[in-house]
Assembly symmetry: C2
Homo-oligomer: 687 residues x 2
């Protein structure tokens, strides 16, 4: 009962209660609410220092500076891509772990970038002017063109020293330009073995109590030298106390708390089930394939964990959406706002048909969902090689257009990141490429049907596996130089290429672009317009003391170190080292690496290992600093408990918990297990 | 719009409209309705002849006699188990097809049984007396004891010549004893190659237009000789005409049209999603595993098709349950009946709380669903070896109890089938057993969690794969003689056995039986009681001119050969041979076997291949005879179109179609492709 009451009170986004709810933008943090509830003062200086010490990892994570020499703390799982790229059949850094004995030994991560938010401009008015009075589809194009123009002007104004990105907040209620300092040279400094970093594997993922040492260190470089980063967190040796207020600064990826009921139902009925069927099968294929060789196992060990994580998230999102009480409450909230709007002539004229517009967009989306997903969104084309091919085909064609007319992925502001990723020397396993492409082509045929014109265009008389095998075997796009030559050669070189993956990307491009156009005009345009209208209606009715849905932009959340009641029992917010050893079975994923078995007697069995807190976070916050009111780092966010997944749709303080690694165990492990004195010395540790 | 109106009219079971709806028991066939609609007379003699020419395959299919010498026509996919059991690394009968040149060459199918329904007794009153006035859990036990007693008495009265099975109709509104003549010696006579029998594979499954030659011939034997079967169908050479009324006699497995909304929601939210996640992953494991060797491919080729079929069914069932309009209509129907009951004091006293009772049962089921599924229902223990072990452990223990106190699976009436399956000499692939058991143990740990007491009891410090590998390697239960010795040795032999699979079955049995007891008392007992009450309420309000949900018992359905409107286009009810060849790609599942390629020029391109009809069928009807009003066989049911899957919950004549193989193509293929003159000669073909 308790849960339901809380839920009723907090389901509607703008009506924030006294719960520790909200992923707040730094310019709108509710310091007064926090002062009232926790008796601590979070001032502008605190917020600025925290912002400048927080980093965004461009692969979808967060990190924080740990020294003035560019040392970055993040999760181990945020560095898996880098670790795989740096591994080989001879050296599996994932199994072995990695420690650079000195800075010379730090290894550059291909394609990793790290950014720091240095400034923000509100451009809501400019976007409103650019789109005012236009029909939805034209407004949609004008909006994008204006954002592209603003980004380029912003970068020019900064002499190319900053990266400017357009940001949508409150589902279109506000538009900002966020300005980042971006580091393109990122190196791996330290990573523990996967067996301790992801101890418990998928069975323990999203569970708590928990014992995962999910951290790594990276370092950002400028001009070949460690960057100077004066804003960094000092670390507290003993971690946080029970009940202590804590704050998390980071880049939550996305939440869906403001969506309309028709948008939620599209997820419930269409997108999440399809995701789950596809990924469950792919998981099975990878699990069986990894037994075929050591190399296969190495290639997919972290990918499997990633897929399993996605499955657990979607499964529990679906469970939340299948909660009829929750859906009824969402509908009641929606109807309440609609009624308020309807009863005011002016508001009704401005916002009254917003929900119908979105419902129409969702109907259009349902009608084209599978075609769009597989053909334009790329679900038919698994693996890296096609992704390279499409980037080359699209990018060379788009580059010939004026900047403001290009797809947003290929504007002048976006091209440096595209190029960095395209040229990065990442190893490509052709066996994995075949597996992945076969699977995705197979699912395409299953979902679009063998008589689909797209399927005919792609497969012809081939089977998914025969086509995939041929394309992967013959393509040369695994070579960065080949990619670079095609990219630099432009449209002519691309059209002359006999690379079969390039040819496939070319052949499907007219179909794919037509689907994109239809999606933009019939789904994106009305949805965006409708969302802007609802956002404005919410501001008009409820005011602006609220937070926007997550958009992989910087947010600060607050809460306290606290357990919760699970099946009538209180869960202790702290786990301790002693139980880690008791939980070990000797078999993965409950197997400890040799380093930990050797160090067992030297470790303090009472050290706090992982902990839970009431802070409101989501995916993208991985690697976020957990900071005390005095500004010291006390932990590292790496997960939530199982209840936190419903947080995509609403926040329930009674059960939703962040799960973090305690600074206490990181420091003890560096010292006692890994002998990483040079790293501990680089930190500023407060007793 | 058309669809919705039809649906509104037909959603509530007892309100059968003029649609071709209903899986009717032979004693209650709506001959008058059929005469009105189709102007044909279906009399008692027709129904009796059809019943006696229809067979039940005890592996979950239907068949029909095709000659007086025990020849049985059924689907190819109903014989996959037999074909796999008769194949070896040297001879893959699935790929090669099979034709016995003479009766001497017909091959016995291990563990296949075929039955014919010869008589039915209504025992509703006896069950009502046995359970009257008892609390739910006691009534549940008394009901089962009475059914066991009645079955044994029935078999004794028939001198052991008939098999008597208790049957529940109208979800407890009626109880019957069905009496079967059962054939234990079933042999494979003819099977086409899988590539033509399942042409189009999973992509085409549940699709129409279609070109699958999904038939096989079996033969039943008695005392080592072909059985004499005077009731058989004559075949019509040219198949049915467009618009012609047709009838299907068979054993539909189960439908859910009478379920309450709380029961449907349990499927929607709990059982179907869990099924889909598990089976999608297993599908992926099998698809990757089949590439590891030819033997692996042979072992799983039909299993994969079976799994893919199950996935498609469940996925489309879920889609039907996610139809909010449909769910609202189900709720409205339920509320209308409840209101009628509530407004009548006598009915209210008798049936008023039936829905609350079922809702309570569903809540209990949700709370134990995963534990029950994995531990007692066996989802944790994939493969044959554990199934053998549990049958031996349970059966020997149950045999020591008085007949009426045993689990229903081990009553005197049930034991012959248990023993036939246990002793059957089916090949066991240890590699497949390891794969299957590893997967299921892995899913058990995933869903029950690593801290579950059941998981601890089963895995100890093992991982799923290490435990599965050891158990399968060391178990001797793949040897039928070992199984027989343990079974005959009884409890003592079982307890003394050092077979690790027997030991696992013994170790988990107390946990599993406790879960069964809880399920029986808290879920099954109240659900059965509530369903009986609702069935009686329906009879009282709507009368008895209706049909019960399917229960794998004999039903007759009616309809006509007809296409339907798909996306604005009318689908032709017939496909023809010419298009089969055009659809061929040379790659599975669109690859033709050599026999068909060689025969191409000799085949009539216009021969009717598959066809669609409005008859109301479901899984279990596979292999059912499609019969004309004159009693001749015109086709063989093997599938439905994609819309037929929603038929689990309601019948929509505008789109729901049976898909059948035309007798025309079967006869031409036997003659022209396979040179099976001896089989054609055995049939009685009407020009």
């Amino acid at each position: 009962m308790k849960k339901l009451i809380l839920f009723l009170a907090s389901a509607c986004l703008p009506l924030v209660t006294n719960a520790d709810e909200g992923m707040w933008t730094v310019d709108n943090f509710p310091s007064d609410v926090v002062a009232d509830k926790y008796d601590v003062k979070i001032g502008d200086r605190w917020l600025e220092a925290t912002r400048l010490a927080t980093t965004r990892l461009e692969n979808g994570c967060t990190g924080s500076f740990a020294s003035e020499d560019g040392l970055v703390l993040t999760n181990n799982h945020c560095t898996w891509g880098c670790i795989r790229n740096l591994s080989s059949a001879e050296h599996n850094l994932s199994d072995e772990g990695f420690m650079a004995a000195s800075r010379d030994e730090e290894l550059q991560c291909p394609s990793q970038q790290i950014s720091v938010l240095v400034d923000m401009d509100d451009v809501t008015g400019k976007i409103a002017s650019a789109t005012s009075g236009l029909p939805d589809a034209e407004a949609n194009e004008a909006r994008k063109a204006e954002l592209t123009k603003l980004e380029s002007a912003c970068e020019a104004a900064a002499d190319g020293k900053l990266r400017c990105e357009a940001v949508t907040l409150y589902n279109g209620g506000q538009y900002f330009l966020y300005k980042y300092k971006r580091f393109d040279d990122v190196r791996l400094v330290f990573a523990p073995e996967l067996d301790i970093a992801a101890f418990g594997g998928d069975p323990d993922n999203f569970n708590f109590p928990r014992w995962s040492l999910d951290f790594s260190f990276l370092r950002v470089y400028e001009n070949g030298k460690p960057a100077t980063t004066p804003n960094f967190f000092k670390w507290r040796e003993g971690g946080p106390s029970a009940g202590e207020p804590v704050f998390i600064s980071g880049h939550p990826g996305s939440t869906d708390r403001s969506l309309t009921v028709s948008q939620l139902k599209l997820q419930r009925d269409v997108s999440i089930p399809l995701y789950l069927y596809r990924q469950s099968e792919f998981r099975g294929r990878l699990l069986a394939w990894q037994d075929t060789s050591d190399e296969a196992a190495r290639e997919v060990q972290q990918r499997i964990l990633g897929i399993e994580n996605g499955i657990k998230v979607r499964r529990n999102q679906l469970k939340a959406l299948q909660n009829d009480d929750m859906m009824a409450q969402k509908l009641a909230d929606e109807n309440a706002l609609r009624e308020t709007v309807m009863n005011d002539d002016q508001m009704n004229a401005a916002y009254g048909n917003a929900w119908d517009i979105i419902d129409g967009a969702m109907t259009s989306y349902r009608n084209m969902y599978e075609d769009y997903l597989f053909i334009e969104n790329g679900a038919a084309f698994g693996g890296s090689l096609f992704t390279y091919a499409r980037t080359i085909v699209r990018g060379t064609a788009e580059r010939e257009k004026p900047n403001e007319e290009r797809m947003r992925l290929y504007t002048d502001a976006a091209l440096p990141q595209r190029e960095q990723r395209l040229f990065a020397a990442q190893p490509v396993s052709k066996d994995y490429e075949i597996l992945s492409l076969t699977f995705s082509l197979d699912k395409m045929r299953e979902w679009l049907g063998p008589d689909s014109k797209y399927v005919h265009n792609i497969l012809g008389n081939d089977s998914p596996s025969s086509l995939a095998s041929r394309l992967v075997a013959e393509s040369k796009l695994d070579d960065p130089e080949t990619r670079k030559a095609l990219w630099n050669g432009g449209v002519k070189a691309v059209e002359a290429s006999n690379d079969p993956m390039i040819q496939l990307a070319l052949r499907i491009d007219p179909d794919a672009r037509a689907l994109r156009k239809r999606y933009e005009d019939e789904v994106e345009a009305p949805r965006t317009r409708g969302e802007e209208m609802i956002a404005d209606a919410r501001f008009a009715v409820h005011g602006t003391d609220t937070y926007p849905d997550a958009t992989f932009t910087l947010r600060v959340t607050y809460g306290s170190v606290k357990g919760w009641e699970e099946k009538g029992e209180m869960v202790d917010p702290f786990t301790r080292t002693s139980r880690l050893f008791e939980r070990t079975t000797g078999e993965r994923p409950f197997m400890l690496p040799a380093s930990w078995i050797a160090a067992r007697e030297s470790l303090n069995p009472d050290t706090h290992f992982n902990f839970s807190a009431t802070t409101d976070i989501t995916g993208g916050n991985s690697g976020s600093p957990i900071v005390a009111a005095d500004g010291t780092l006390v932990g590292l966010a790496f997960d939530g408990n199982i209840h936190s997944i419903a947080g995509d749709y609403w926040f329930d303080e009674s059960t939703n918990r962040t799960v973090g690694v305690n600074t206490a165990i990181i420091l003890e492990a560096l010292d006692t297990v890994y002998g990483a004195d040079h790293l501990v010395d680089e930190l500023t540790v407060i007793k």
